[in-house]
């Protein structure tokens, strides 16, 4: 009865719409929130949405992971390995940036006691 859900078009639409909603949740958080950590969380959500789009659209249902194991002997009917490699790279980069950002936020809070971007006015004239 729910077989139609397995067709690639439907699956991809679901993934795409879901990821886009995530992306815009992140964008909303970025524009509307003032707390530094919330902004970092929003940025992470946006990044995540982009990774999801890449992984989800590039894979169709029925494809296996591109690894030879469990009796598989040939690289056929497998999903594209590139999006997975790219996502791995991008995730590590995202983590690095976030680690640096939170460290800066912690240090900034310790020096000034501020956590909000609207209070960051030291550099204005």
């Amino acid at each position: 009865m729910l077989n139609f859900l397995d067709t690639p078009a439907v699956l991809h639409s679901i993934y795409l719409i879901g990821s886009l909603i995530l992306f815009f949740i992140g964008l909303y958080g970025l524009l509307a929130k003032r707390h530094l950590l919330k902004i970092f969380v929003s940025i992470e959500i946006m990044e995540l949405a982009v990774y999801l789009i890449l992984i989800a659209i590039a894979t169709t249902s029925g494809e296996t992971a591109p690894i030879l194991s469990d009796g598989l002997t040939a690289f056929t009917g497998m999903s594209d390995p590139i999006p997975q490699a790219l996502t791995l790279t991008a995730i590590v980069i995202g983590v690095a940036v976030t680690a640096l950002g939170t460290s800066m936020a912690i240090q900034y809070h310790r020096l000034t006691g501020k956590v909000s971007v609207t209070e960051m006015t030291e550099l204005k004239d």
């Binding site: 940025i43 800066m104 020096l111 550099l123």
Partner: protein
């Protein structure tokens, strides 16, 4: 076993040196290593010029394009690599010889500066779009950390702002890359260029828009550059010199490289980019008029020049492109000079406000003189090199019978003259405000890198033919889409 020079060296050697940092710390040779690495790469790049001018060097990594990553060293890439290495050598020489603050001579600063330059080299050299993203992030992370290097309130605030804006820009760039891959199944820029025309027009527009937002933020173009002055104001001036001299130039190159390669007909984007450049230039120059802080003024002036370069590059005629590339060189040299001067002034004066710098010429005569020289070069007065590059750009526009950019460029130069002369008048004011915090005399060693740049500005202004062939060829390489596609894809 063979042992040959390849473009990989411009990236691999700085990486190796950065990873070996504990060794240099133990031997106490951080700054000499930093300086000599940049200088060696600069010398290497120059020595390569004859080879590259005959034919571009294409270095395959593991698997041949369009499958794998490759580095593409043509005349325009070599021009930028040479410029970046030179800027790196000057700044590290300045930090090393000129007694900069301890946090600039420490291990983190060594690693970050080295990799900032290496990442910029990578951005210019790489022929793969995801590799480009990785290099953008290398440059980005080192720039964020460098902005916060001083670890006080202002530096951290600048660093945080930069990090937030920069990572949002990176997300937009990544989104565009993801869409490109999903549409074409390619990652090599040349292969993407072949396939780009088959993408539906609406999708092309979306990808272009995402790229433009991302790269526009990073290259400091008009609606996206609200954050720039804060960061320039918060960071150390030595670092700001690198931002303005290296970082922005690398992103401008990427923006136009992608535009010229991906679009079969660059006139599609021409008007938009030209408008963006023109607005950036005029708005930035107007705002610069009102600035009371030297570093903010320099930041806006830098934005104005970026606008001018964008305007000229977007026009995409050979003459304006060559002029714009020459202006890239000039602007890097001038802004290095000005920001390093600001660093020297900051050591002697408590603040860099207009009111606090009155009568500076008495205590720092060389600095004031160099400031005048740099200001004249920005304005484009003969016999300095800024004159020649602006002249080439104007000649390019008039040859194409397009006159509105000429009018705008001249108006911008007038506004520039207005604010630079205001600062010069203050420096040579007869009364002196007594805000000096220390006087260690004028060490000539501090000025050695600055005098070198000043000399170059004059030499290039008097003898522009030294670079003319190289620049013309570089402009052809930047605009020559078919030649590049054939070279990469065969």
């Amino acid at each position: 076993m063979t042992f040959h020079f390849t473009p990989v060296w411009f990236i691999a050697i700085p990486l190796l040196l950065a990873f070996l940092a504990p060794l240099w710390v133990r031997w106490r040779v951080l700054m000499p290593v930093l300086f000599s690495a940049q200088f060696a790469l600069f010398a290497l790049a120059l020595s390569w010029l004859p080879t590259v001018r005959i034919a571009p060097v294409l270095e395959t990594i593991v698997i041949a394009p369009p499958l794998g990553i490759h580095l593409h060293l043509d005349t325009v890439a070599l021009l930028f690599v040479t410029l970046f290495s030179f800027a790196g050598a000057v700044v590290s020489g300045f930090i090393w010889l000129g007694n900069s603050a301890p946090h600039l001579r420490d291990r983190p600063a060594f690693i970050l500066i080295l990799l900032l330059i290496a990442g910029s080299n990578g951005m210019v050299l790489t022929g793969d779009i995801f590799n480009l993203y990785v290099f953008i992030e290398i440059v980005g992370v080192s720039a964020y950390a460098l902005a916060a290097l001083r670890r006080d309130k202002t530096a951290l605030e600048g660093g945080l702002k930069y990090l937030i804006v920069g990572s949002v820009a990176a997300i937009f760039i990544l989104f565009a890359i993801v869409l490109l891959y999903l549409q074409t199944g390619q990652l090599n820029i040349a292969a993407l260029a072949r396939a780009f025309a088959d993408i539906p027009a609406q999708m092309q527009l979306l990808i272009g828009l995402l790229m433009l937002i991302g790269l526009g933020i990073k290259a400091e173009l008009f609606p996206f550059n609200f954050w720039v002055p804060d960061i320039y104001r918060g960071s150390d001036s030595e670092i700001t010199a690198l931002y303005s001299g290296v970082l922005v130039k690398a992103f401008l190159f990427v923006l136009f490289h992608l535009t010229f390669i991906l679009l079969a007909d660059p006139t599609v984007a021409r008007n938009w980019l030209m408008a963006l450049g023109a607005i950036t230039m005029i708005v930035a120059e107007l705002v610069a008029l009102r600035q009371q802080d030297l570093r903010r003024m320099l930041a806006y002036s830098s934005l104005g020049q970026v606008g001018l370069i964008t305007l000229a590059l977007a026009f995409a005629s050979e003459m304006t492109t060559a002029g714009a590339l020459f202006h890239v060189i000039n602007h890097t040299l001038i802004k290095l000079l000005l920001f390093l001067l600001a660093a020297l002034m900051l050591r002697q004066f408590a603040s860099l406000k207009l009111a606090d710098l009155q009568g500076l010429s008495r205590t720092m005569p060389i600095a004031a003189g160099l400031f005048v020289l740099a200001a004249l070069a920005v304005l484009g007065l003969p016999p300095l090199s800024g004159f020649v590059s602006k002249l080439w750009i104007l000649k390019g526009f008039s040859a194409a019978q397009t006159f509105w950019p000429i009018a705008l460029i001249l108006i911008a130069a007038l506004i520039e003259a207005g604010y630079y002369f205001r600062w010069i008048r203050t420096f040579y004011a007869p009364t002196s405000t007594s805000t000096r915090i220390q006087s260690d005399g004028e060490r000539i060693l501090n000025y050695a890198p600055l005098l070198l740049i000043a000399g170059l500005l004059i030499v290039l202004g008097v003898m522009p033919f030294l670079l003319e062939d190289w620049l013309t060829q570089a402009a052809q390489a930047l605009l020559g889409r078919e030649a590049l596609l054939n070279a990469v894809l065969g």
